[in-house]
């Protein structure tokens, strides 16, 4: 261990100052706005506003869609991670890169691409009608939003799962088989538990942005579908009610605190 020193403290201080000013103080400001009315008096109304039918519905819908999206991402990413991790060929790096590459496309361009595909007069319907097949109408439905979420956040699920799978020693799997476990037992008792940290980090990396998005729902949902992210965004950009927007943000932070606790717990377990 490095020795404690004054120099270290001095070197840490710029970052401490930075994080206090730009991380801690802004959060306190949300807390302040969220718990006061326009005159600055304390009120719990802005947080309680989550219970109004519109807001709770937007939150519930956001949760449903983001849980579905996270689940789909997981179901796609896990088998893919297993295939990628089991590939011993030298091209493994390239293949893995291939699945991560779309991450470098701009987030809005990725979403725009799906708008283009799914529109009523879009590419997919154009191709379908060319072959005389029935048209699909997916755009501006919750399904379209789920597609947008899955497409945008899938790489964030693939990466941690792949990493945790690639880290498992092949011999551990062989050992389980050797001790009499069949393929299914090996998967559920060994592979899956060993990748729990990766799965959890994948889930937070997909679930939180999906839960709080407003761009995907605006673009893929035609402003017909209101998620909690849209509600908060509109409190700031349309209704000009910062107190309400902050109050609802505080509700979102509850979810974030939960995921922080979960990740802290798993980290602790890993340390033991």
């Amino acid at each position: 261990m490095f020795k404690k020193s004054k120099a270290s403290a001095a070197l840490v201080s710029p970052y401490i100052a930075w994080s206090v000013i730009f991380i801690v103080v802004p959060l306190i400001m949300i807390l302040f706005y969220g718990l006061s009315d326009t005159s600055g008096a304390f009120t719990f109304d802005n947080v309680a506003a989550i219970l109004t039918p519109e807001n709770s519905k937007a939150l519930a819908l956001a949760m449903v869609l983001s849980v579905i999206s996270t689940f789909i991402c997981f179901m796609i990413a896990y088998p893919l991670g297993m295939i990628l991790a089991s590939n011993k060929v030298s091209s493994q790096g390239i293949i893995t890169t291939l699945f991560i590459l779309p991450m470098w496309m701009n987030f809005l361009l990725r979403t725009l691409a799906w708008m283009t595909l799914l529109e009523n007069k879009g590419v997919i319907n154009g191709i379908l009608s060319f072959f005389g097949l029935p048209q699909i109408s997916v755009i501006n439905t919750p399904a379209a939003i789920v597609i947008g979420m899955v497409y945008n956040f899938l790489p964030f699920m693939i990466l941690p799962i792949y990493n945790s799978l690639a880290r498992i020693d092949d011999n551990v799997i062989s050992a389980a088989r050797d001790l009499g476990a069949n393929a299914l037992q090996t998967f559920f008792r060994i592979t899956l538990p060993l990748t729990v940290p990766g799965i959890l980090s994948g889930i937070t990396m997909v679930f939180i942005p999906a839960l709080t998005t407003f761009a995907i729902s605006t673009m893929m949902g035609g402003s017909k579908i209101l998620l909690i992210g849209n509600v908060i965004e509109q409190e700031f950009t349309l209704v000009y009610d910062w107190n309400m927007g902050s109050g609802l943000s505080l509700v979102l932070m509850v979810f974030i605190v939960i995921s922080m606790v979960v990740s802290a717990l798993t980290e602790q377990k890993g340390d033991n």
């Binding site: 062989s174 050992a175 389980a176 009499g180 476990a181 729990v196 033991n272």
Partner: protein, 357 residues
């Protein structure tokens, strides 16, 4: 004569262009301690994995106790493996690790509990049930891995370089421990290593492999004293491997000097290699031995002195409890029984085997 428990028949295995095993035949007796010895990449681990069922051979058969198990899944085989770097389940306690195989077989809780206790006692780890693998030292993890394998009462225990990651002292302790275990359990051990000392210490039977072929098999004494080719000679212990000419039966010309030997049947005036172990080279007063030489270098090794002697244009390695100081002129002589004559490699293929060490 013990019966054959495992038979490998004409096993071949290749990854792409790379041939790992080529037409391998091997039989393993019941209740023996067999060591497969060879440098890395020689095919020893693949052989073990084929026996364990983790790899399937491209051709050939694996017979276990009279039955063909070539395509049987590893979980259906009556043998267990102790893996390189232990391969413990890091998300389970020691007890859960050991109980894993038993739970799969739906044994009763009481049975499992007893077994864990018994196995931990056997490997001297009583009281470690609740610990996690990461909190154990390398040697302790190794014992857990062994305990985890033997609670399943396998007929054969496969050990894949199990001591490779341990330090020297621990390794030596574990060697005795393994011999004790084998005797207590009365089952067959198949042990893979690249460490010749380990092989010589523990085994009843050694199989030396290189480049996918079995070079020689036999008891440790045979392998050490009568290597069949330069590879085996060089791989097992330090040796002097010297090109020579077989003058006739029982007489070999080494570096221009005739030595008496006991080997026959190599023909007359045929080029051969001879192997002479360093401890078999005797240094005698100049003029009283067979081949004159000069001591170049002396190192004290504790039990013996290690000396380099130049004689007949070759640097001989000599181990002796008596020192001859550097610069001294001496003569070399060798007991005829200690000269091991080997055929020269004939085909290019065999040459490759001989060179690649």
């Amino acid at each position: 004569m013990a019966k054959d428990l495992i038979l490998l028949e004409n096993i071949s295995k290749a990854y792409g262009d790379q041939v790992i095993l080529d037409d391998l035949n091997l039989s393993i007796h019941e209740n023996s301690f067999v060591t497969i010895l060879g440098p890395s990449g020689c095919g020893k681990t693949t052989t073990l994995r084929i026996i364990g069922g983790f790899e399937s051979p491209d051709s050939g058969r694996v017979i276990f106790d009279g039955k063909d198990i070539t395509s049987l899944a590893p979980n259906k085989r009556q043998l267990n493996t102790v893996f390189q770097k232990y391969a413990l389940f890091t998300h389970m306690t020691i007890a859960e690790n050991i109980a894993f195989g038993l739970k799969i077989k739906n044994k009763t809780d009481q049975y499992i509990k007893d077994k864990i206790k018994y196995a931990l006692k056997l490997v001297n780890l009583e009281g470690f049930e609740k610990r996690m693998p990461d909190s154990l030292s390398g040697g302790q993890q190794q014992r857990v891995a062994i305990a985890r394998a033997i609670v399943n009462e396998p007929k054969v225990l496969l050990l894949d370089e199990p001591l490779g990651a341990l330090d020297l002292k621990l390794r030596q302790d574990m060697q005795y421990e393994l011999i004790r275990l084998k005797n207590e359990l009365g089952i067959t051990f198949i042990y893979v290593t690249h460490d010749q000392e380990e092989a010589l210490t523990m085994s009843d039977h050694i199989v030396v492999m290189n480049q996918g072929y079995i070079q020689q098999e036999g008891s440790p004494e045979t392998i050490y004293n009568e290597p069949e080719n330069a590879f085996v000679a060089d791989f097992i212990g330090d040796s002097n491997i010297i090109p020579a000419v077989m003058v006739r039966d029982e007489l070999v010309n080494i570096l221009g000097t005739n030595f008496a030997c006991v080997d026959k049947g190599f023909g007359e005036n045929k080029p051969v290699d001879v192997v002479i172990r360093p401890e078999d080279v005797e240094l005698v007063k100049a003029g009283s031995g067979t081949l004159p030489g000069v001591v170049k270098n002396v190192i004290f090794k504790g039990v013996h002195y290690e000396m380099e002697v130049e004689a007949g244009g070759y640097e001989w390695l000599v181990h002796s409890t008596r020192m001859a100081e550097a610069g001294r002129e001496i003569d070399i002589c060798v007991d005829p029984f200690n000269i091991q004559v080997m055929k020269k490699p004939q085909s290019e293929d065999e040459e490759a085997i001989a060179i690649d060490v």
